[in-house]
């Protein structure tokens, strides 16, 4: 059995604020293999973005990785000092963010920004760098790439900027790409273009992709594996089919039922009652119990651990939904 590219075990990232401790990520285990696409799905505040930032080592005080290991290519990332992490960032692990409007510096040309990454991690002549930039822009589908190199970000539309950002991220052929809501700010037709582009590139170069999003529909079309997060914990994880077609955790079930379907019209959507609890005041036991229709006493007393439902599919629930 080959070792996974990324292996996260027991990750806890907490933020110590004036008002209290925010346990943004509270004990998370998952792995990503080479060339695999993992979807990290959850609503706002569930901690999915913080997982991504923790892997990249971009957690600023008052946040801190309290516990856990993040094994990447055999090394535990939190152990590394800043200098070594910088060598990894951009070269081995790259990140793409949500807002294409602010992810690029408006004062520098596209070429400057693309070359910045290359200058950091590779040893290339100016000529080689320029050719590589042209090559990358064509790869992400930007035509007339040579002329466009000299353009500034404001001369590109949102979709094209995101393409540039993906090009920058993939410039050094990283082994892992973390994409945090990469298409949320884009229109539907552009979103579809960008997602197809990412999928194609990622499969072509055998790059692993961690796709962090709140959009279950996107994740159902893009991913090999899915993990669903709630209040800093994983409530269910498994293959794409297992989660979409055979989910067992009441939260996942509720979430899938809440989404209006394109193929048919229902009278009423399934709704999860109540609200996400205050992250600083989580209930004892299962975090989802107050909103769960199937909750029993045990759920309020003890916190459920992930139990295996079938091979490659686990849910953190004492009483998984019957199928």
């Amino acid at each position: 059995m080959s070792e996974a590219l990324l292996d996260v075990h027991g990750l806890k990232t907490h933020f110590h604020t004036f008002a209290g401790v925010i346990k943004a990520v509270d004990g998370v285990d998952f792995s990503v293999d080479k060339g695999e696409i993992l979807g990290v799905v959850g609503e706002s505040g569930c901690g999915k973005s913080v997982v991504g930032f923790s892997i990249m080592g971009l957690i600023d005080p008052p946040g801190r990785i309290e516990n856990g290991t993040i094994r990447f290519n055999g090394r535990n990332l939190p152990d590394l000092d800043e200098r070594h992490m910088r060598q990894i960032r951009g070269k081995e692990i790259a990140m793409v963010f949500q807002d294409p409007m602010t992810s690029l510096n408006p004062l520098y040309t596209i070429q400057d920004q693309m070359e910045e990454v290359m200058k950091l991690h590779e040893d290339m002549t100016a000529e080689l760098r320029k050719n590589r930039c042209i090559e990358l822009l064509e790869e992400v589908g930007i035509s007339r790439s040579e002329t466009r190199l000299k353009n500034y970000p404001h001369q590109f539309s949102g979709g094209m900027r995101q393409r540039v950002i993906i090009a920058i991220a993939l410039a050094s052929r990283p082994k892992l790409l973390i994409a945090d809501e990469p298409t949320t700010a884009l229109d539907v037709t552009i979103q579809s273009q960008i997602l197809n582009l990412m999928k194609r590139l990622v499969k072509e170069h055998r790059t692993a992709l961690m796709l962090i999003t709140h959009d279950l529909a996107v994740v159902s079309e893009m991913t090999d594996k899915i993990m669903v997060m709630y209040c800093g914990r994983i409530v269910e994880k498994g293959t794409r089919d297992a989660i979409i077609k055979r989910c067992r955790h009441p939260y996942t079930f509720g979430l899938l039922g809440s989404i209006p379907k394109l193929g048919s019209r229902q009278r009423r959507l399934l709704q999860i009652r109540g609200m996400v609890p205050n992250i600083m005041d989580l209930p004892t036991g299962c975090a989802f119990a107050p909103r769960c229709d199937y909750a029993r006493d045990q759920c309020r007393r003890r916190r459920p651990e992930l139990i295996e439902i079938e091979k490659g599919h686990a849910a953190a629930c004492f009483f998984p939904v019957e199928r």
Partner: protein, 334 residues
């Protein structure tokens, strides 16, 4: 029979010209000061009947939000007609609009910006009532406000709190209560659930449907999310670059889309369930600029089926099947 809302050939433009000196250009050897006009809405016509939900869907920049704001006269229309219950309000001034505003209310997208952070919930909800000359005593107003909050799923203790003490979904409920306060006949909902989490979105959509059934008003529901519009609308209109390209009953349009843009939208929309009935269709390119409209069809630069007529002549909305209209030359050919 008068429609509740009828829009005919609505036009809206915005002058985004920069200052005098920034406009200075030299063309053909002469000094020119060209204006930059955004053609946001280019002759849109549709109607909404009582108790109906009309979904207006399209990507950013298509003009759907502008239509919403123009209907409620936040912007004066540049052309066309707006009729409410048969009454032509297009040229109404501020005073004439006062009684009309009681009939139309609006719900906004951003729950964090649509409520004044310095006002208490009570003041926010009762503002439309106070404006529309409802001279009720303080106690009566409070009772009414409590009833409204209860109807949207909040408690009387929330009346004296400030918006920042509520979650996004709760704020949206407050916005809905505000709209309901004057018992309108038409509620314009501009992307009301786009900024909410999925599970809260379902709650709010269910609430909106329940309220509609209970009070009998209509919605002009604006969104970019196809699954949401599919769920909530009776009829839909698809917009592109300020033009209405297809309209019809939502079931029919979603099952058998006719306009190439509608088909592309449906093909692109990610979906949890299988969409076997939609054939994959990828369109390339980006939305053209609304500053200079192309002469023919606005979609032809990206349309995989465009032919020569498309670049020359702008297609008009025409009905080929009862209840449905499309603006496309391709459909004429057959």
């Amino acid at each position: 029979m008068n429609h509740l809302l009828e829009i005919r050939d609505l036009v809206q433009r915005f002058d985004v010209s920069p200052g005098f000196f920034d406009r200075l250009k030299i063309r053909n050897g002469r000094l020119r000061f060209p204006k930059s006009i955004v053609h946001a809405v280019n002759g849109v016509s549709f109607h909404i009947d009582r108790g109906e939900v009309f979904g207006l869907v399209g990507e950013s920049g298509c003009g759907k939000s502008t239509i919403a704001k123009t209907v409620i006269k936040l912007h004066e229309p540049a052309g066309g007609q707006i009729r409410i219950g048969g009454e032509d309000i297009t040229a109404y001034n501020y005073k004439q609009m006062i009684p009309v505003r009681k009939k139309i209310q609006m719900i906004f997208q951003d729950p964090y910006a649509s409520l004044n952070p310095r006002l208490k919930v009570f003041d926010i909800i009762t503002e439309p009532m106070a404006l529309n000359g409802e001279k009720t005593g303080k106690a009566m107003m409070r009772e009414k406000a409590q009833a409204l909050l209860h109807r949207v799923g909040l408690g009387p203790e929330h009346l004296d709190r400030y918006p920042h003490q509520f979650s996004g979904g709760q704020r949206q409920r407050i916005g809905i209560a505000r709209a309901l306060s004057v018992e309108p006949e038409l509620i314009i909902a501009d992307e009301p659930v786009s900024a909410l989490d999925v599970s809260i979105q379902a709650q709010i959509l269910n609430l909106m449907m329940d309220l509609k059934d209970e009070f009998g008003f209509s919605y002009l529901f604006i969104t970019h999310d196809l699954s949401v519009v599919r769920h909530i609308s009776d009829r839909i209109g698809v917009m592109y670059l300020g033009f209405l390209v297809e309209t019809g009953p939502s079931e029919a349009v979603f099952m058998h889309p006719k306009h190439p843009y509608t088909r592309a939208l449906l093909a692109a929309a990610p979906s949890v369930d299988e969409k076997h009935h939609i054939e994959p269709m990828e369109i390339t390119g980006e939305v053209p600029t609304p500053l200079e409209l192309p002469p023919g069809c606005s979609f032809q630069s990206r349309c995989p089926f465009a032919f020569d007529r498309c670049a020359q002549e702008r297609p008009r909305l025409a009905s080929r099947e009862p209840g449905r209209m499309e603006a496309c030359h391709l459909l004429d050919a057959s």
